[in-house]
Subunit: 345 residues, 2 copies
């Protein structure tokens, strides 16, 4: 029955699924992001993802977000979980260029700049504080909050922040062939320009975000701070791969205490170009790995997930953990994702 | 012990306080609104109110919102309630010109035009539908939702919508001397321009909002629809005076079913220039009237509430009902409001 390892021992009374949507101009660097058919289309991906989860189909674009091979966005997984569990789901505007036609939580975040510019994120401390305020309100009622993300280009900002904090993190990719060398080169260029070496900002983590990050990062860290401050009983699960791994590092360096863990897919944990499990262990947090068994999927684009085409996003790994916690079997879950895809494509 | 009449019989397990912040250019008509020291300052009032409730003091303006006599905004009452009850409180951006530095729920609402222009509210149906979507998500977890408002100029838009729906509603005012004749003249001019007579839009209530309303109205009605659709167990209380009375009329004409009532202050219900209780009875909803006993307040600006200086806003009447439901005594409550004012002014 457990298709998440290790066996999760959560039994929330009042759970909530949040997902932070954000954009960074880093995604427009050619070859960096596959979250969209072309670099320009990546601006529509977070909005399209959110609309797909809430409404069953994107509204701001005519076709659902796919990678360049046509594999469907992991938003289909998140939608299946929200449908099957009935858990409330709210998206957060973490600095969008394209707004989805759904309700959003708004923290006055701006799109992030290319990390090779002077500043990637303007005033991350204010963003962190507004987000902590939101976390405090949510912590008055929810006892379990999962936080996903949709940020095209976000593995490159994750790499930048990990390096500035002193971690030899290797990040995953929405491409089946990870363009690691391009990401490394972009991060190197950004670090050189700002004269920051590996680990130089380990005591100034919000500066690492300002220089190399994206707005999703201080928002997620702020939520964790607020949720952990009000009521120590709030369990928080970061739902994501190497991008959320970078947020975990940020949380650790900000010295935020709380019941925090991370959940992702087996596609991320088995990605040999990344080192998710190693870094999460080094940081000292619990990780959960979900496996939807897409080898048996009817829809071909889902089968391609098994060969590394699309790996994570929109909190997909965590959304599967939620479904598992709520007693949904793997086969039932996969059927639901198949049905969503067949209806969509 | 009961300082709200009739005795409320709510005992919520998971309550939420929402407050919709909105602006309309109708507020800039000279002499219409006292929600701010001058017509121009009314744009800062919703943001300043929200910051005062959440942070204890406004941030976007140097002084707390007051009426021209210097009586404090009713936000001080709402803050006291949120502090004493510990109930989660979230503000909704219902079309602001000035954004408070706090988290907001965002429905992509725009500031409303002067009702004498072609359209007061652009596309109220989309706004209503996005808001219903939010209500559905919130209805998955909360069993009691109170909805307040801060909309300078909002009694004039309320008057316009009531007339278009066929009600002889007389609306209250943030002035001690109600500028009823100015409001009547503005509404008459707007109705004449759009060739709408009294009751002409009773079967097309969202058109009444489009012509004569503000964005808070379809947002609040949409929330009620969403909250009532998902789970018939959600109790909704509209927290406001004659503005929320107009929303009740809207809800009735939209044929929204649900457990809805309205709560206001005795300052509104005793306002002889308005007819709150009469119209709410005619509409067929339960109303609750709260009395903070400000005759015994230490702070002089609060004492002036007793003579009609400031009457309602930011959900103050409902916020007192919430405190009452949570077992807070009238004297304890008044002390808290006094302390907030003494610290602020």
């Amino acid at each position: 029955m457990n298709w998440t390892r290790p066996k999760p021992d959560y039994s929330p009374a009042n759970p909530l699924f949040l997902c932070v949507l954000s954009t960074t101009d880093t995604a427009k660097i050619h070859g960096i992001s596959a979250a969209g058919k072309s670099p320009e289309m990546t601006e529509y991906t977070p909005a399209g993802d959110a609309e797909l989860v809430m409404l069953g189909a994107p509204q701001c674009i005519s076709e659902p977000p796919t990678n360049p091979n046509g594999s469907p966005t992991p938003a289909v997984i998140t939608r299946a979980s929200i449908q099957l569990t009935g858990i409330p789901c709210i998206f957060v505007n973490g600095g969008l260029r394209v707004r989805p036609v759904i309700p959003l939580l708004d923290l006055d975040a701006k799109p992030a700049n290319d990390i090779r510019e002077d500043r990637a994120v303007r005033d991350p401390r204010s963003l962190f504080e507004r987000s902590a305020m939101l976390g405090m309100e949510l912590g008055k009622i929810f006892d379990f909050v999962m936080i996903g993300e949709s940020v095209p280009g976000g593995t490159t900002t994750a790499l930048g922040v990990l390096r500035a904090l002193g971690y030899d993190g290797r990040v995953s990719s929405s491409f089946s062939e990870n363009p690691s060398s391009i990401k490394e080169r972009v991060v190197e260029e950004a670090m050189k320009r700002k004269r920051v070496g590996i680990g130089d900002l380990k005591s100034d983590p919000l500066r690492a975000v300002e220089f190399f990050g994206d707005s999703m990062m201080p928002i997620t860290a702020g939520l964790v701070r607020g949720l952990s401050g009000v009521n120590s009983g709030v369990d928080v699960v970061l739902a994501g791969g190497t991008q959320m791994m970078a947020v975990l590092a940020l949380i650790k360096h900000l010295k935020i205490k709380g019941a925090v863990s991370i959940a992702t897919t087996k596609f991320v944990s088995e990605d040999v170009t990344a080192n998710f499990s190693e870094i999460v262990s080094e940081l000292g947090y619990q990780s959960y790995i979900s496996d939807p068994g897409f080898g048996k999927a009817r829809f071909r684009g889902l089968q391609r997930y098994e060969t590394g085409d699309v790996k994570e996003g929109v909190g997909a790994g965590g959304a599967m953990l939620l479904a598992n916690i709520c007693g949904v079997e793997q086969a039932r879950f996969r059927d639901q994702v198949d049905e969503i895809c067949i209806k969509l494509f």
